[in-house]
Symmetry: C2
């Protein structure tokens, strides 16, 4: 009997020990893995522009940020090499005729290149305002906090440049100390406020999209001071943005010999992605695809080497999609469809420009018709550019991209017809295919 | 010691019994649930047209097939009520001007209505060939097997009608006896053969799409005998189909006063869905969404009450998608985008028709330009109709739908311009919005 009792007690002890061990292992496995600083934590002062200081506390994030300097890989339609759009698609030389983008228009490179690339662009001259530094440096949040956006914007580029020595970095998205994601671009804060939105009420997951909107948004330079402004007063959808520009009578430049008050879309990733795209509606954030989580030993961190998810699809797409090969084939299919449709829109807009220039050269019988042609050219060009300047070849919102391109083509063709009508000359109706890429 | 042994033996027996029981339950749970006939199995003769006889063996499938007679529910853009397209979108009266579809064009109703609806359509007259019964009856497979497709096609509609008394039913998709899914439409078999495809090599899952292609395909009536023919010789993509029609110089009708050799797309669901759509590429079959599995007690069967998945999304979409409410919102968003873009294409095509008719009325200076205008009108109309006649408001392949509609609009506008050029009259360039639906 005593032997029995011993066996039972021993067995019970073993069972309890095993259960506790399993419980502890399960608990540990379900713990979020914390970033482990490899150096003692240092204090980061507010708006610290030097990312290497933040990097002492967050070495993995900082190391991956620095990779945006060396990663130069391209995808089929985009990438990080900084190729020339004007060489790849010479139609754009015509489409941006008379504007800086017809002289140089290079694809964006990684964040670490931002300062060097803006300093070296041929579009900068002595008239360039400080505004053009707005999305290029981690010095900005501190400067905005000190002198405000208007003083920043109207300062000549060269003069402001003396205060700017860092590319995009930690301070552009994070609050020092708390490391909270933050909106610190005063123009974007104002853009949210104009819609009655308090950005501080966004959830953490929403902020993983909204911080990107610190820069990846449509903007223009308002008034004499060239103040950076986002045109969101009536909403962030393209119809609201176009309506806003109509209301304030804004143009980026006048198309030479055509007289069209033309708009240049900037990089409206936030507006385009949030316009009802399937990923956005499903609650996916920019960072989910562009900054996937990776491990360094026991440390789990979000990659700060931001680039096309097509360059690391297992990490970027594989977090949600089980069949990554399939996903890549879908992206390729969709980007091909958008690219084809985009080029057809470009040919149509060039036809419109040609016709409007020709009608403008001979005094039109009906100036109102030619004005209408210009209005349609302006609209067609903006709809097209909203898709073209957006960095995803439509993939951030595929159906929306294709719908906008269909509308752009329709407006461009009608612009061409109106130009011909304005001078009663159907010879203006010839159509062309303006560039055949080498096979 | 004896007591010990008894305990051990008893415990061992309990463990073994419990393990066996668990094993059996797991095995049973993983068995595919078989259809249980509620009547003794009866023999079905080959090509049996009477679905009620097959129904003795498969009562659940038969009962659900019969529901296609009573289900008349609509979705936002389609459904089963059989509404008039000409009333809903009066542009189509113009687009099909001079052709039967401008007199009556009702949305398709359920399979059980097929015979009644074809017999009652106003498009049938004394010249109508037997071909028009080709997708309307379960009598067809037997008749094709007996007299062949050519005799079937060239027989006058009224005469062939005497042999046809059943709507679409079991024999249209199944082989009697084995119940195997089968391609029995000789035109479709020939269409696969022309591409070097042996349909008998399709997998079961592929056949759950391919049987639908017995009817849901583009077709035309070839030659004097009006033989049902699918234009797949060069492939099932729209460019190949258009090329095929060009090569044989085919037209469905000549557009009155315009002289365009016009094509009517039929119901190209198979071609449209299989042209690289995301669901098709992921291996999803038509039946997965349109014939989801349901249970009747212990019996699991595929619903034969085929209709829009939007009417039972929990079953149709929920088998793969966890968030059905989200999925429905996506379908609505996409169908809305396609519908808007489709209507813009329609307005553009009507503008082209108006211009070509006007140019044709006055003898054109340049007949070649007017011919080119007609060629572009033909192409625009077919691209649009390929999306419009396809029963999903683009959802079966959203990006493809939007790309085709962008192309259709572009061709239509160029057709209009060419017509104006052909007579040197820019007054032909006016544009219109041809119908504003009531708010």
């Amino acid at each position: 009997m005593k032997k029995h009792l011993t066996t039972i007690i021993l067995s019970a002890v073993i069972v309890v020990l095993a259960a506790v061990l399993v419980g502890i292992l399960i608990f540990l496995k379900n713990q979020p893995v914390q970033q482990r600083a490899t150096e003692p934590l240092v204090d980061i002062k507010a708006y610290e522009p030097d990312s290497s200081k933040w990097g002492l506390n967050f070495p993995n994030q900082y190391d991956s940020l620095k990779k945006t300097k060396t990663n130069k890989e391209d995808t089929q339609f985009g990438g990080s090499s900084g190729f020339s759009w004007l060489e790849r698609d010479p139609r754009q030389v015509i489409l941006f005729g008379g504007y800086g983008f017809s002289k140089e228009y290079n694809d964006d490179r990684g964040h670490e290149w931002s300062l060097e690339d803006v300093n070296n662009t041929k579009r900068v001259n002595e008239k360039t305002p400080g505004t053009c530094y707005a999305c290029k440096s981690s010095n900005n949040p501190g400067i905005w906090n000190t002198i405000g956006l208007e003083a920043f914007s109207k300062m000549p580029f060269a003069e402001l440049g003396k205060q700017i020595n860092e590319p995009i970095g930690c301070a552009n998205c994070h609050e020092a100390g708390t490391m909270k994601l933050t909106v610190n671009n005063p123009a974007v804060i104002a853009g949210f406020e104009a819609q009655g939105i308090d950005w501080t009420e966004f959830s953490r997951q929403e902020m993983r999209t909204v911080v990107c909107a610190n820069c990846h948004v449509e903007y223009y330079m308002a008034g004499e001071s060239k103040v950076l402004t986002v045109p969101w007063e009536d909403g962030t959808d393209i119809e609201s943005i176009l309506g806003y520009y109509e209301n304030i009578g804004f143009k980026d430049w006048e198309y030479p010999e055509a007289g069209t008050a033309t708009l240049k879309a900037q990089h409206p990733e936030y507006e385009f992605f949030s316009a009802g795209s399937t990923h956005y509606e499903a609650g996916v954030a920019c960072a989910d695809c562009h900054m996937p989580y990776v491990r360094d030993g026991a440390a789990k961190y979000s990659m700060h080497d931001i680039h096309s998810p097509l360059l690391n699809p297992e990490l970027a797409c594989g977090a949600c999609h089980t069949d990554v090969e399939y996903v890549i084939s879908r992206v390729n299919e969709i980007q091909g469809q958008v690219s084809d449709t985009k080029i057809a829109a470009e040919d149509a807009i060039i036809d419109a420009i040609t016709a409007i220039k020709a009608a403008n050269a001979i005094s039109p019988n009906d100036g109102a018709l030619l004005d209408q042609a210009r209005a349609f050219h302006r609209k067609a060009q903006y709809l097209w550019d909203f898709v073209s300047a957006e960095n995803s070849t439509g993939f951030h919102n595929p159906e929306y991209a294709l719908k906008l391109l269909a509308e752009a083509t329709n407006y461009a063709r009608q612009a061409q017809m109106l130009a011909a009508q304005s001078v009663g000359n159907p010879a203006l109706l010839t159509t062309g295919v303006y560039y055949q890429p080498p096979e």
